[in-house]
């Protein structure tokens, strides 16, 4: 359904081009959940914004295609993109507290997407289109119920500050679902919430995936979340995808030294070790990236070849791909 091919984008800054997304290939089939994991600033969220065409100034797409249902989103006009946003592709953001507009009632914010995409435009009658408004309201209340907001009839009239963080995220999911999107982009939807709420929200998204059949791209830096929830995982490092495959392939048999390092750095209750094992070094400066392997300075298995040229994606079998010479 969605296929990103060779996508590269950069921010033009005074220090030169900052390559936030570099030659990314991704594909999501209908009803599939794709996880993108990586550290902060590795280009996960920007990749999502690219799909919607909402990369903030001074970001620029350098090359690539984003094929959605057979059409390249990068070639669409502004008007065509607006028709897709919120209708075919919806997005859920990281911080629910700042994502709902503080001056509008929750119900109105859920209703808005339906109105602009003309979900009930055939419903006629009443003064000031009241029949259509009622239809929209009924659907909004239904959605609020579905995402687990208690007493939705009353909550419909609340303002965002009257909701808790978890409830706000549920409301945002209701906004995302309002036009029955085919693809849901979730940008760390649980990061800002506490752990019990995280589990509830993830369960809700799983239900949505199963019941609505919506494809989901879940961006997260929580490997546990990704392992539990996703069918496929892509690991991103410094704007590139370094490893991609089915969840069990990536989690049970990580190939790339970075993925291995990430998995080693997760604290485990079962292990007797006192300390978790961090990956040495820090994330590279994206403005100074060259074509060579960006993980080279932090990699224990690095050798000269890694510096010589751009590392291609190697097939490690059964669709499991790795950007590392160890498997070439």
């Amino acid at each position: 359904m969605l296929e990103i091919k060779n996508l590269a984008m950069a921010f033009e800054t005074e220090r030169g081009l900052v390559r936030a997304v570099n030659k990314v290939d991704l594909s999501v089939a209908e009803g599939e959940v794709m996880g993108i994991v990586g550290e902060s600033g590795c280009g996960k969220s920007v990749t999502l914004l690219n799909i919607l065409g909402l990369v903030p100034h001074p970001g620029k797409v350098l090359s690539g295609e984003i094929m959605f249902q057979g059409e390249d989103l990068l070639k669409k006009s502004k008007k065509e993109m607006r028709d897709i946003r919120g209708k075919d592709i919806a997005m859920i953001f990281q911080d629910p507290m700042t994502t709902l507009n503080p001056v509008f009632r929750i119900g109105e914010q859920i209703r808005e997407s339906m109105r602009i995409h003309g979900l009930f435009k055939d419903v006629k009658g009443g003064f000031f289109k009241s029949a259509r408004k009622h239809a929209e309201k009924d659907r909004a209340v239904e959605l609020m119920e579905e995402v687990g907001i208690p007493s939705p009839e009353t909550r419909y009239h609340n303002f965002p500050h009257e909701f808790s963080g978890g409830m706000q995220q549920r409301a945002l999911i209701a906004i995302g679902l309002s036009c029955k999107p085919k693809l849901l982009l979730a940008d760390e939807p649980t990061t800002a919430l506490d752990v019990t709420i995280q589990a509830q929200i993830l369960a809700l998204m799983q239900k949505i995936n199963q019941e609505h059949g919506a494809g989901i791209i879940l961006v997260t830096h929580d490997l546990g979340v990704a392992a539990e929830f996703c069918h496929k995982i892509a690991v991103m490092y410094a704007g590139r995808i370094v490893e991609q495959g089915r969840t069990e392939q990536v989690m049970d048999n990580p190939h790339h030294p970075y993925t291995q390092g990430l998995l080693r750095s997760i604290p485990k209750m079962s292990s007797k070790k006192d300390r978790i094992e961090p990956i040495p070094g820090g994330v590279p400066d994206l403005a100074e990236l060259k074509e060579e392997c960006a993980f080279y300075p932090r990699c224990a298995k690095a050798h000269d070849k890694c510096l010589s040229q751009e590392v291609p994606m190697f097939d490690a079998g059964e669709g499991h791909t790795v950007r590392c010479y160890l498997y070439g």
């Binding site: 919607l52 909402l54 607006r82 028709d83 897709i84 946003r85 919120g86 209708k87 919806a90 997005m91 953001f93 990281q94 911080d95 700042t98 994502t99 709902l100 507009n101 503080p102 001056v103 509008f104 808005e112 997407s113 602009i116 995409h117 303002f159 500050h161 945002l172 906004i175």
Partner: protein, 336 residues
């Protein structure tokens, strides 16, 4: 619920107003200069008996605390005394001048808001563009330019050289319509006297621009900076991700939030416009409170000074209340 809170706030204004009354009563009498002396002209032209008679008439012969008692007793009953110089009730005099000042203040505020918000929004959306830089340079000019000087320039250009607009007073002679509110824009509409309305509007234009220019500049800057802040918020990105047109994103989702600081500034400034326009009223011969204040101070007309100052204080209280009420509409997190 809201109306009860508003009533509470109005009642809370009563002790404030009594405090203002006592202070202004004392300060007026502390200033050098004697009203009776000023009325009598040069020394020796009137007899001691005549001076004494006047002092008795104005209660100035009585001890200070007795005068204060008489004043406060009258104030509580809504009587601000009689003007020394004009020999009529202060409330009547102020009642004639206040509508002129209100009309001018709102004219200035209207002019300022009408231009400041679009300029501020546009500058923020096109940050660092030529338009942005130009409008911010102009707003800097607007803030630093003295209002009276700008008023005179307007008079010279639009009144004298071009002859497009009237330059003094509220209305030309020859119009006659019943005074209901004292606000000409409303009274002329009530009387369906359209030529008079047009004439009143024309008279209002230049003084409104002169008085509103600084406010325009300030509001444009405030709107721009708060808009820049708001445009970075997640809910603006969400609005775009919903598929809204950019215009709707900016005007509906961003501006509603960005207006909160603008309204704060506007509220404070409306008080300033009502109370601080003595110079503009003088330049444009506008028969409002500002000119009344200046005249009453020169003639040491104690009751009139007291009345004018109390009205100023009261308009501040009211302007603050109006802003607080407006807030509750624009920002749902705030209740009265």
């Amino acid at each position: 619920m809201k109306s009860i809170k508003i009533l509470e706030r109005l009642l809370a204004a009563i002790p404030i107003m009594i405090g203002v009354a006592i202070l202004v009563f004392l300060f007026v009498r502390l200033t050098p200069g004697d009203p009776v002396d000023l009325m009598m002209g040069s020394a020796g032209s009137v007899s001691q008996q005549e001076i004494q008679a006047l002092q008795e008439e104005f209660d100035l012969d009585k001890p200070l605390h007795v005068q204060l008692y008489i004043f406060l007793k009258d104030v509580v009953r809504g009587d601000l005394g009689d003007s020394f110089t004009q020999r009529e009730p202060v409330t009547d005099i102020i009642g004639r001048a206040l509508p002129a000042t209100i009309e001018l203040a709102f004219g200035a505020a209207f002019f300022a808001v009408l231009f400041a918000i679009p300029i501020g929004v546009y500058s923020a959306v096109k940050q660092n563009s030529i338009t942005d830089r130009l409008s911010m340079a102009f707003s800097f000019l607007g803030i630093s330019m003295p209002a009276f000087w700008f008023g005179i320039i307007l008079i010279i250009v639009f009144g004298v050289k071009l002859g497009w607009l009237p330059i003094s007073g509220r209305l030309d002679y020859g119009f006659n319509f019943p005074s209901v509110t004292g606000l000409y824009l409303i009274d002329t509409v009530l009387a369906r006297d359209w030529p008079a309305l047009k004439n009143a509007v024309l008279h209002l234009i230049l003084p409104s621009i002169a008085l509103g220019m600084q406010l325009l500049a300030v509001l444009a800057r405030v709107t721009r900076s708060s808009m820049l802040e708001v445009l970075r918020q997640d809910y603006v990105t969400l609005a775009r991700a919903k598929g809204l047109r950019e215009f709707i994103v900016i005007v509906k989702h961003a501006l509603r939030n960005a207006l909160i600081p603008t309204i704060t500034v506007l509220g404070i400034q409306i008080g300033v416009l009502l109370g601080g326009n003595m110079i503009i009223e003088t330049v444009f011969a506008w028969p409002g409170l500002g000119r009344l204040a200046v005249d009453s101070i020169f003639s040491r007309d104690f009751p009139l000074i007291q009345g004018v100052v109390m009205i100023y204080a009261f308009t501040y209280v009211i302007a603050n209340l109006v802003v607080d009420v407006l807030y509750t509409y624009i920002n749902p997190k705030i209740t009265l």
